[in-house]
């Protein structure tokens, strides 16, 4: 970088009457002109214009001093944006840097380092917008659709051992009526002491059959009189079989809630089925109806509402970290690789443990790289926009609001208040200004 001061043109440039001077000026203008003009028109002029516009009201006619700026701190949905952005600044840059550091250190010595780093790095190529779409699929509340909730549900099932849930059961014959939400009711009325009641279900994958289930008993018998009894079972046998009748090899469904209802639909009694799916009601009254209660088909885990107002910010942050961790890892890994092996070996020879080597040697030598990553992420996080727009459904967008999004929605999202929008933009510019000072200082040091 230090070559700049010794560029060859310098030596000859100072001589006073120089016939080639205008020619050289023309050359410079040709090389530099287009870029300078574009920067002036698209960056410098708009920045000045935005600052100017931020002191005027929505119509642009009235000069309002700092009213737009005070509005930033007093309008509800803008203060939410400020709070959220503060949360982003507090959480995300540190987490991304930490994850990048951990992954870079951990992968330094593994054999499939290349493959691993590619996998982590890949989301960098994807647009933040598309990453948002991807995570919207991951974050779906319904555990049968959302990947994260499905994983949580699977872990819960494994730990709780609650068996399956009959989420897609159907009646095996049309003797039963109803659906999963209402429960299944036997159309015929029943009376105590009569024949067994057969409540057959199908549409139950083997994985959903409770693990303690045993074969249903085809010759189920009740206690002679004064009782209504029967079986709830999986009316399915590979290779056919008769529908509506329990047969050998067909599993009972344990733990199903069976209801006895009077003719008006009022629930008189409830029991749970045994491992072979059998149940018994002590009952001597008039004609009644038997039903498998809706409770049987209820989901025990209904899913975490990632995209709801409470968790929307963490949900978006996870998606964002998923994108940027690879960046941190690659930059930090390059910094790690640059640390001299001899220094590390010397520390190890002196008897330092790996943790001591990391803390006392590696970490201090990495500090400049870590700060570059951290500051880069800080600036990125201040400007976060696309991913909020694509992860957050319209209903949670107010809760997920951030400064850059608030600026856009205020200016172009229907309100069209260019005065307030300009003020938010200037506010954002002010927030990133320290980075400008940092960049310039770095350049000056290199000179």
């Amino acid at each position: 970088m230090s070559h700049a001061s010794s560029s060859p043109a310098e030596g000859s440039g100072a001589k006073a009457p120089d016939p080639q001077r205008w020619g050289r000026r023309l050359t410079t203008a040709v090389f530099l002109g287009p870029a300078v003009v574009m920067l002036l028109v698209w960056l410098v002029y708009p920045t000045i214009a935005t600052i100017y516009r931020s002191f005027f009201d929505k119509t642009g006619d009235d000069f309002v001093w700092f009213e737009n700026y005070t509005a930033i701190f007093s309008t509800d949905n803008l203060t939410t944006a400020l709070q959220n952005n503060a949360l982003w600044v507090a959480v995300v840059p540190a987490l991304v840097t930490a994850i990048g550091l951990v992954l870079a250190v951990m992968t330094e010595k593994i054999r499939w380092q290349v493959a691993f780093r590619l996998a982590i790095f890949m989301p960098m190529a994807i647009s933040l917008f598309a990453a948002g779409v991807i995570w919207r699929i991951m974050d779906d509340k319904d555990p049968s659709k959302g990947t994260i909730n499905a994983s949580i549900g699977a872990v819960q099932d494994a730990l709780g051992g609650s068996g399956g849930v009959l989420t897609r059961a159907k009646a095996s014959t049309d003797a039963l009526t109803g659906d999963l939400r209402t429960g299944f009711v036997l159309k015929a009325t029943v009376q105590g002491g009569a024949d067994p009641v057969f409540l057959g279900l199908t549409g139950i994958p083997p994985a959903q059959v409770p693990t303690d289930a045993v074969d249903a008993n085809p010759q189920v018998e009740g206690p002679s009189s004064g009782a209504i009894f029967g079986t709830v079972w999986r009316d399915f046998k590979p290779g056919g079989g008769e529908a509506g009748v329990p047969e050998a090899g067909e599993l009972g469904i344990p733990g199903a809630t069976v209801e006895l209802r009077d003719s008006g639909g009022k629930v008189l009694q409830t029991v749970e089925t045994k491992p072979d799916g059998s149940f018994t009601f002590e009952y001597n009254g008039g004609p009644a109806k038997v039903a498998i209660a809706a409770k049987t088909f209820e989901e025990p885990f209904s899913g975490v509402s990632w995209l709801g107002p409470k968790l929307i910010n963490p949900a978006i942050m996870i998606a964002y970290i998923w994108v940027w961790a690879g960046f941190a890892m690659v930059i930090i890994a390059a910094g790690l690789a640059a640390i001299s092996r001899e220094v590390l070996e010397a520390a190890r020879t002196d008897g330092a443990t790996e943790w001591q080597v990391f803390r006392k040697v590696t970490a201090p030598m990495l500090a400049p790289v870590l700060s570059v990553v951290f500051i880069t992420m800080l600036i990125n996080v201040l400007k976060v926009f696309d991913i909020v727009l694509s992860v957050a459904p319209a209903s949670s967008q107010d809760d997920a609001n951030v400064i850059a999004l608030a600026m856009w929605r205020t200016s172009f999202g229907g309100v069209n208040d260019f005065g307030l929008g300009s003020a938010i933009a200037v506010f954002l510019l002010l927030l990133v200004l320290p980075a400008l000072a940092l960049n310039i200082r770095r350049f000056k040091r290199e000179q």
């Binding site: 560029s7 043109a9 410079t28 090389f31 530099l32 287009p34 574009m38 920067l39 698209w42 960056l43 410098v44 002029y45 708009p46 920045t47 935005t50 951990m106 330094e108 290349v114 691993f116 590619l118 982590i120 790095f121 960098m124 994807i126 647009s127 933040l128 917008f129 598309a130 779409v133 991807i134 699929i137 991951m138 049968s144 990947t147 960046f327 690659v330 930059i331 690789a337 570059v372 500051i375 880069t376 600036i379 400007k383 696309d386 727009l389 459904p393 319209a394 200016s411 172009f412 929008g421 300009s422 933009a425 954002l428 510019l429 990133v432 980075a435 940092l438 960049n439 350049f443 000179q447």
Partner: protein, 307 residues
């Protein structure tokens, strides 16, 4: 400078000492088991992490090949219990949808057009900052560095008004020019830093031979600068391909793919069979560019990580 010497994510750090390899073969079986069991937790942990990082994208792909009626009820992993449900109908629908195909075409035009223009302007300006002498050169370069951090939100409102009063609103050139302008600070910074590192003998001998600056630039410097140009081009290409906010602000009917998908997003639940394949199509080009040129991608990152 960083761009020429930095390792890429792909290149293994020199951790393995080849001298150790023969010694390893002499290790006993028990020792091998011992080493493996010490390392296994780390390997398993890392494998889980890698899985976590891959699943979302893989999930998008499987979502995109599930029939519409299935995906509205089930997760993408149902594909594994019944792979026969896979269908490319969704993709056919994307390519039969005129809005989406024209959006893809618009995206290509904007990305390629602005990348070519940006590389040319950045290289020329970078060369001027590195090797031409003119008054106020360093001061001007400091201004360029300062412009690096300007958020594009700062320019949206004035440029919106400017575009509406000219005929640039809702046009491909309007979008291209905006992207080029905002790519310039980084581009000039990157190219200038590259050119400064070129040995001055090369340049001086060409100047003594009487070659014009333009000739030196196009015949000598540009070919030398190809690695830096590749980094810059890939960055700018991905940046514009993936842009949402600029196109959303300065376009109505001129929609790149991100905006087209965004307008479908309002009915996320009912449109997933269109959104998923369209999103996946929009990923394919960046992923191909990324895997094809990852070396330059990483170099660009390392060269200018404070943007």
């Amino acid at each position: 400078m960083a761009a020429t010497s930095a390792p890429t994510p792909g290149s293994p750090v020199k951790a393995k000492n080849p001298a150790l390899a023969p010694g390893r073969q002499k290790d006993g079986f028990a020792k091998k088991i011992g080493r493996w069991s010490r390392r296994a937790p780390l390997q398993i942990f890392l494998a889980l992490i890698a899985l976590f990082w891959l699943v979302p994208t893989v999930g998008l792909f499987f979502t995109s090949i599930m029939p519409a009626d299935l995906i509205s009820q089930d997760g993408w992993w149902k594909f594994f219990s019944d792979p026969s449900v896979a269908t490319f109908d969704n993709y056919r629908a994307v390519f039969n949808n005129n809005d989406l195909t024209s959006a893809i075409w618009t995206t290509v035009l904007i990305s390629v057009g602005n990348t070519v223009l940006l590389v040319l302007l950045s290289a020329m300006a970078g060369y001027a900052f590195a090797w031409l002498e003119f008054p106020g050169r360093d001061a001007l370069f400091v201004v360029v560095i300062g412009l690096l951090v300007v958020p594009l939100q700062t320019a949206l409102i004035p440029i919106f008004k400017l575009y509406q009063s000219t005929s640039l609103f809702d046009t491909v050139p309007g979008l291209i020019l905006f992207h080029v302008a905002f790519g310039l600070p980084f581009g000039v910074f990157l190219m200038r830093n590259f050119f400064v590192g070129i040995p001055k003998d090369i340049l001086e001998s060409a100047r003594i031979d009487g070659a014009s600056e333009l000739r030196i630039f196009f015949k000598l410097m540009l070919p030398l600068a190809l690695p830096a140009i590749a980094s810059l081009a890939i960055f700018q290409f991905l940046w514009t391909w993936n842009d949402l906010i600029v196109a959303l602000t300065f376009g109505n009917d001129t929609q790149p793919i991100t905006v087209a998908i965004f307008s479908q997003l309002r009915q996320f639940g009912s449109n997933i069979e269109l959104i998923a394949p369209a999103s996946f199509v929009s990923l394919l080009i960046p992923l191909a560019v990324f895997f094809g040129f990852q070396k330059y991608f990483a170099q660009g990152l390392l060269a200018g990580s404070v943007k």
